[in-house]
Symmetry: C2
Subunit: 418 residues, 2 copies
């Protein structure tokens, strides 16, 4: 079967499952999630065998150690996949909530009811544990999911998706609700993103290349989960101790993740006090600093930052540094170079904080705390399917409620319009 | 200047205005809306002169009388444009609402704040009064708007957009917040829908051709306002009197609009009682009926309905009729042929109503009332920019609150992640 037929057959079967899922009782969905957790534990050996094949191929093809680490399904990671599914089972059902019900002068009663979105196409890279997380969240919200993982994780993903779907079916979920594209031909993505009328929403999670391919070609709605080029701005009214600890935390607490800081903006009036101390602490933690000309006059052992640095998500112990003349210039820098993920201001001045919150156009805007808080768990959403860098429907950490939409529901009593 | 440069220059200027609008005080926006209403009344002669040019060109090019009627800016329509703007001024400001604020164990406080979307590209056909409605709603929500109207209304739209933008500027709104593409080259739409990074959201409102062109080519998010192929389903447990009055109202109260019914589905068990009486009343009002084979055995003077009829939005006194064997078959017919706008069930049975509400996948699902209620005014939203037939962000009647998005706002006190 060629790749087009494979994608369309999988998508149509998943769509058929989706059509039966809006009325799925909460108890069935939760039972399915618990069965999925159980099968992951019971079939650990089978999953790890498949993962071993992926790891061997990865070593042969010369994948970096960091990538190989992300690909590995250790006992601990398998345990946490299962725990993640159990946690999702414990959430309240996000479907079927009737809100804003009002009585209108015409005699109708009208409100909004949360409903599943339908079939979600999820395109992601590398880590196979995301397969279980995404499948669990989509199922809880009454959606079918069509997964398309990276080629490095194909063997692991095939076994996982098959086991998860079977477990869900055994609990009463329609067959195909958890589906995976089992071929990694590049055209598979193309056929998915053009499947208008079948797939209701695409969620791509990955790097520039993947996101661009999806956005350029998609004929269906997309919510991008793009990179985090996050900023910390030290206002002239900042408390220096807070400024240092937030900067160091945002950069170094876990540098390889999307909510780590990548550029530090410093108001000129405070740079002389702040920068030498901050640079010392950052450099002591192994951070390479790349500065603008003015910041290099204060901290002379910084490398030179170019325009490219302002655009870069390093995901590493590197930090770009720029001195600005005003809060307004800091906000303009952010709105020009940021990927609209997460930005923080450190200030003791309420007017500065208010201006920053109002005018920075990113999914999370943080006052006097680390960018590292931008996360579904930290915000209280429970598990997240990712962090949306788009503006519509869901922005920032995207939890299970964001995987629903709504319909208007109207009740009359033979009511007609005059 | 060629069309590409024209579109990009207009879009960039509008985007620059949008960047200054998230912090625009409510009082400035409302003053602008009132000034816009005033200028429309004061400059009525100028607007009608431009409209006259459009009308003359329309007559020359042989536009239908219905189209010419829609194009005409009578005194009444100009008055209602101004009233619409005044009404929008009276709404509460949808921007800056901070909700769901919670204190987290880490010490941060986090909530969601409503914010403008940014620059909205609005692509619409024919009626020039939509220009003022759309501009007013977008401004209220703190968005800039880039309008691209139909070529038939170009002279009217140019004068209107110019006057509205000037009035807004005089009240303190950034110049370019209300912008119009002043050339109607077909490529103008193409350049708009590819303006990624400049336009944040496209709202196309129109027929199949326009919608398809936008969806196929867009590189930015789209919320479609597509046609309404609406259904009325008469359940076997329907009250016959309600069934007749709802059917007649849904089809004939205003047949030319998107929430009028286009197909009538009837349960076989009630068809013998219901159809002859309903057909009589509909035919008495001049409705042409096109039926399936079984319905034509009951009402013999119906034309034959083909598969095409199930897909058609007539916008006219024509109604397709089909007998179904079950509620499930009715829902399947709707989910297959509908444009996902609005569907109604007439039933006295709560289980039938519940099944219909849960399983029909449309933006409005109505129990025992006419499809004609699917409307922003009837639902209590005030003015609407249109009726979304998409599933994401906004579904069904789309009011001023749907023209905002949100950002996450986090407050700490030097808080770092452990």
């Amino acid at each position: 079967m060629d790749i087009y037929d494979h994608v369309i057959e999988k998508a149509k079967k998943a769509k058929k499952a989706a059509a039966k899922m809006p009325g799925l009782p909460s108890a069935v969905k939760d039972k399915a999630l618990l069965s999925m957790a159980e099968v992951i534990i019971n079939q650990k050996a089978k999953i790890q065998d498949a993962n071993q094949k992926d790891l061997e191929a990865a070593k042969k093809s010369g994948l970096s150690n960091a990538m190989i680490d992300r690909l590995t399904l250790t006992d601990v990671r398998i345990g946490s996949m299962a725990n993640g599914l159990r946690e999702v089972a414990s959430f309240p059902d996000p479907v079927g909530r009737l809100t804003d019900m009002v009585q209108r002068p015409s005699g109708i009663r009208v409100g909004k009811m949360t409903v599943p979105i339908g079939l979600i196409g999820f395109i992601y890279e590398s880590r196979p544990n995301v397969t279980a997380d995404a499948a669990g969240l989509c199922l809880k919200a009454g959606n079918a999911i069509l997964l398309r993982g990276g080629k490095e994780a194909l063997n692991s993903n095939c076994v996982l998706a098959e086991l998860l779907n079977q477990a869900a079916v055994s609990a009463g979920v329609p067959d195909g609700a958890i589906s995976l594209i089992e071929k990694t031909d590049h055209d598979g993505v193309k056929h998915m993103i053009e499947a208008a009328g079948i797939i209701d929403l695409l969620i791509p999670r990955g790097g520039k290349g993947l996101i661009k391919a999806v956005v350029d070609g998609a004929k269906i709605p997309v919510i991008k989960h793009f990179e985090g080029n996050c900023h910390v701005y030290i206002d002239k009214y900042a408390d220096i101790e807070n400024a240092i600890s937030i900067t160091v935390n945002a950069k170094t607490q876990r540098p390889g993740v999307c909510n780590a800081a990548e550029t530090l903006l410093v108001h000129n009036d405070i740079a002389g006090d702040f920068l030498p101390r901050a640079a010392g602490e950052l450099q002591a933690k192994g951070v390479e600093l790349r500065g603008c000309d003015r910041s290099r006059e204060i901290v002379t052992d910084m490398k030179v930052a170019t325009d490219d640095d302002w655009y870069t998500e390093y995901l590493d112990l590197i930090l770009a540094v720029r001195i600005v003349d005003s809060l307004e210039q800091a906000v303009e820098h952010i709105n020009t170079y940021s990927s609209s993920h997460t930005e923080a201001i450190v200030t003791s001045d309420i007017t500065s904080a208010e201006y920053f919150v109002t005018n920075v156009d990113s999914s999370s805007v943080i006052v006097n705390a680390s960018t590292r808080f931008s996360d579904g768990g930290e915000y209280g959403l429970g598990a997240e399917i990712g962090i949306s860098t788009d503006k519509l429907h869901a922005r920032g950490p995207m939890g299970v409620a964001d995987l629903t939409t709504y319909k208007w529901v109207v009740y009359g009593n033979g009511t007609i319009r005059q």
